[in-house]
């Protein structure tokens, strides 16, 4: 509470009415050390650590809070995709090719059954060579919960059959329809979240590490280190982005396994993305290293490494996190775009971009529009990261 205005202890009531006060002086003795008492709320505010201030400010940004919740749900899906999906991503059903989304009902002939779907009448229209599915309302297929279904390996390790939701014993459950091989669209979208949502996170962690390391060195040491980094950054920034992405991903051998390709692509994103962060780190460090506390730390014998990462970087970490959040969406969209072009992940890997490859031609839009559904989570995730980043940036800015 330094610099708070000093006020009089207690003021005598001013004369009422419009009469002229003249030159008015209080008779109270002057107390130079007087400070107004803080209310408990003020006390709490002034003594709160920085992260708490950020949190309070962030909480006021409604949209950002909602986005954070949505992202939490999405990442929950990423972790438990196998259990949440009713089917395995590659389990085919040749009876249900290009089946449209099934409607989920609750009441059968006026009787409450819980969520269920009706079976289908399937018929091949020979005139247009198209499968026609109509609801067979005679027999309901109630959806089962917490049940045994398709076999999977949880995170590729533990074998299990447990699903949160499964189709009826002799029925099917395709709430989002099926693709050209009769694979469940919902399950594939859930599995796809795993790749599509982690590509951004892993990429951003890599590029932040690179950015802080390189930008930190450049900003703290200055001189030659700075000059060389600046030139490299300028060079990297003068590459056209999309063509470079494409060229690099084309260079990934087609024989690599999906996992290796995935890491290859995240590394490509990170290698091209760190420049912005490094610049920010550098310019912040250039000004911060002149501060007294940096000088004090180095006089006390702190090594540069310690000064940079213990004393300087925490000063603008929140900013870095906010700006990193804002650059995740471009990675998610980038993965989608590259996979869509056939330069990113390839089947049998499942990602939202790979799923959208199925929706590449006009027939799909006209006949099987549900194949475009993977775009919904893409849009949601991108929007959520954008709002979250906006909220974080506003909250982390001490001058607002």
């Amino acid at each position: 509470m330094n610099g708070a205005p000093m006020t009089q202890g207690s003021q005598p009531p001013l004369p009422a009415g419009d009469e002229d006060l003249g030159h008015w002086v209080s008779n109270e003795p002057f107390d130079a050390t007087y400070q107004p008492a803080l209310s408990p709320a003020q006390q709490r505010y002034y003594s709160a650590p920085q992260w708490k201030l950020i949190w309070w400010k962030f909480r006021r940004h409604r949209l950002a809070v909602v986005s954070a919740g949505l992202l939490a749900v999405l990442y929950f899906i990423v972790i438990f995709a196998e259990m949440l999906a009713p089917y395995a991503p590659d389990s085919r059903n040749s009876q249900y090719i290009y089946a449209p989304p099934q409607r989920i009902h609750l009441f059968h002939e006026g009787e409450f059954l819980g969520p269920f779907v009706y079976g289908d009448h399937r018929k091949l229209d020979m005139e247009v060579l198209r499968r026609i599915y109509t609801e067979n309302t005679a027999k309901p297929h109630p959806v089962r919960f917490f049940c045994q279904g398709d076999k999977y390996r949880f995170w590729g390790m533990v074998e299990a059959r447990f699903h949160v939701i499964c189709p009826a014993k002799d029925g099917v459950f395709y709430p989002l329809g099926t693709d050209r091989l009769g694979r469940d669209q919902l399950s594939r979208i859930l599995y796809g979240a795993r790749v599509s949502l982690t590509v951004g996170l892993v990429g951003i962690v890599l590029s932040m590490t690179l950015g802080i390391l390189i930008g930190g060195a450049a900003g703290y040491y200055g001189g030659w280190a700075d000059l060389i980094t600046q030139r490299i950054i300028e060079l990297l920034r003068s590459f056209p982005e999309l063509p470079l992405w494409m060229a690099l991903s084309a260079a990934l051998p087609a024989t690599w396994s999906p996992v290796t390709t995935f890491f290859g692509i995240t590394i490509i994103f990170a290698l091209l993305d760190w420049t912005g962060l490094a610049r920010a780190v550098r310019s912040k460090l250039l000004s911060l290293r002149e501060e007294d506390f940096a000088m004090a730390a180095s006089l006390m014998g702190g090594r540069p490494h310690r000064i940079i990462y213990r004393h300087l970087v925490p000063n603008f970490m929140s900013h870095l996190i906010a700006s990193a959040t804002l650059s995740i969406p471009s990675m998610i969209l980038g993965e989608t775009a590259l996979s869509f072009l056939g330069l990113g992940l390839r089947p049998p890997a499942v990602s939202w971009g790979v799923l959208l490859v199925e929706a590449q031609n006009l027939n799909v839009v006209a006949l099987y529009p549900w194949l475009m559904l993977p775009v919904v989570p893409v849009v949601l995730a991108v929007l959520a990261f954008n709002f979250l980043g906006d909220g974080l940036r506003d909250a982390a800015d001490p001058y607002h």
Binding site: E234, L235, S238, F239, P240, L242, P243, L244, M246, A247, L248, A250, A251, P253, P329, L333, T336, A337, F340, L341, G342, L343, L356, A359, Q360, N361, L362, V364, V365, A366, M372, V375, V378, V379, V382, L383, N386
Partner: protein, 332 residues
């Protein structure tokens, strides 16, 4: 000023050299070369491969030599105006690119104008009427535009255009004009086909432009000189147009660095989906089939435009905003 421009132009040379080396290495990274792909493709379809021709091409284009000498071969070719030979199209790279370049430039310049023309009034309106219903609507639309992968938007719009308006889909002109010489009819066909691609490619650009312009304008509107001007009785519109708007135009200019290359291929994805005859799909195809000189030339062309664009935008920013000084001070 002149000496500054000259220095920047000189600095472009080493930058471009570095870029060319990196580009060449990246394109060479995948194992094998185009001729191997070519031979195996021919063999797979049961055709005879003329070994002499393959050997001739391999020698002619130095594919049998180490990467380093291939690079210098390519580089010296560029300096002589020979950008190499496209194996896939059996034509010099310049001819392949030249065929598509005019359409490309036309498409992207139109998109650019679209972005500027649409985003300026909307951003202006949104900033002046902050938190109005219109502002919210435009912000929402803008966010959606940013978040939707535009290749999907392309598909949906194509379908709508076909289903509702009966416009023939895909391409930049009706099929019968593709190999025809330029004529008024062809021009007309191109113009009618331009609408959907421009709308699609322009969406995300417009959305981000609106966001930045609006933010900039809002910042400016809070500054004291605006209040002073109002207090002194300057007419509102005159004040707005004369000062804050002029200051908030920075993103228009600063973006030239990224926009110039997009004039060449900012729209690869959309172009692939809509089968537009532009450079984007050409680059994708060339990268996949390791048609290295073609791919390399396109990427180099864009790198050149980025470097040039950054210079142009620096100069224009200085011209627009007298507070920016180029000499001295710029480095810090």
């Amino acid at each position: 000023m002149l000496s500054y421009i000259f220095r920047r132009l000189l600095l472009m040379i080493p930058t471009l050299l570095c870029i060319s080396a990196v580009v060449f290495i990246i394109i060479q990274l995948p194992p094998g070369d185009y001729l191997e792909t070519y031979i195996s493709e021919l063999r797979a379809s049961g055709e005879q491969v003329s070994l002499e021709r393959v050997a001739f091409m391999r020698e002619e284009y130095g594919l049998d030599q180490p990467v380093l000498s291939q690079y210098f071969f390519w580089l010296s070719g560029i300096l002589h105006g020979d950008f190499g030979y496209s194996f896939e199209y059996n034509q010099p790279v310049l001819d392949v690119i030249g065929e598509r370049l005019p359409l490309n430039v036309l498409l992207n310049l139109t998109t650019l104008c679209f972005i500027y023309i649409v985003s300026f009034p909307i951003a202006f309106y949104s900033a002046i009427n902050q938190y109005s219903i219109g502002d919210y609507t435009f912000s929402l639309l803008g966010f959606l535009g940013l978040a939707t992968p535009n290749f999907l938007l392309a598909l949906v719009l194509l379908w709508l255009a076909n289903a509702w308006l009966g416009v023939s889909v895909g391409g930049l002109m009706a099929p019968e004009y593709i190999d025809a010489p330029w004529s008024w009819a062809k021009m007309g066909s191109v113009l009618t086909h331009l609408g959907v691609p421009v709308l699609v490619i322009g969406t995300s650009g417009t959305a981000s432009m609106i966001r930045r312009l609006r933010a900039n304008l809002l910042d400016e509107l809070q500054k004291q000189y605006v209040v002073t001007g109002l207090a002194k009785g300057l007419p509102r519109w005159r004040l707005l147009l004369k000062y804050p708007v002029r200051m908030s135009l920075n993103p228009f200019i600063a973006d030239i660095g990224t926009i110039l290359p997009s004039v060449v291929s900012g729209s690869s994805l959309v172009a692939v989906v809509m089968s537009l005859q532009t450079l984007g799909p050409l680059l994708v195809r060339a990268l996949q089939s390791q048609d290295m000189y073609l791919a390399g030339t396109i990427v180099m062309l864009e790198a050149f435009l980025v470097v040039l664009g950054v210079l142009v935008s620096d100069l224009m920013l200085a011209w627009l905003d007298p507070r920016i000084r180029l000499q001295g001070g710029l480095r810090r």
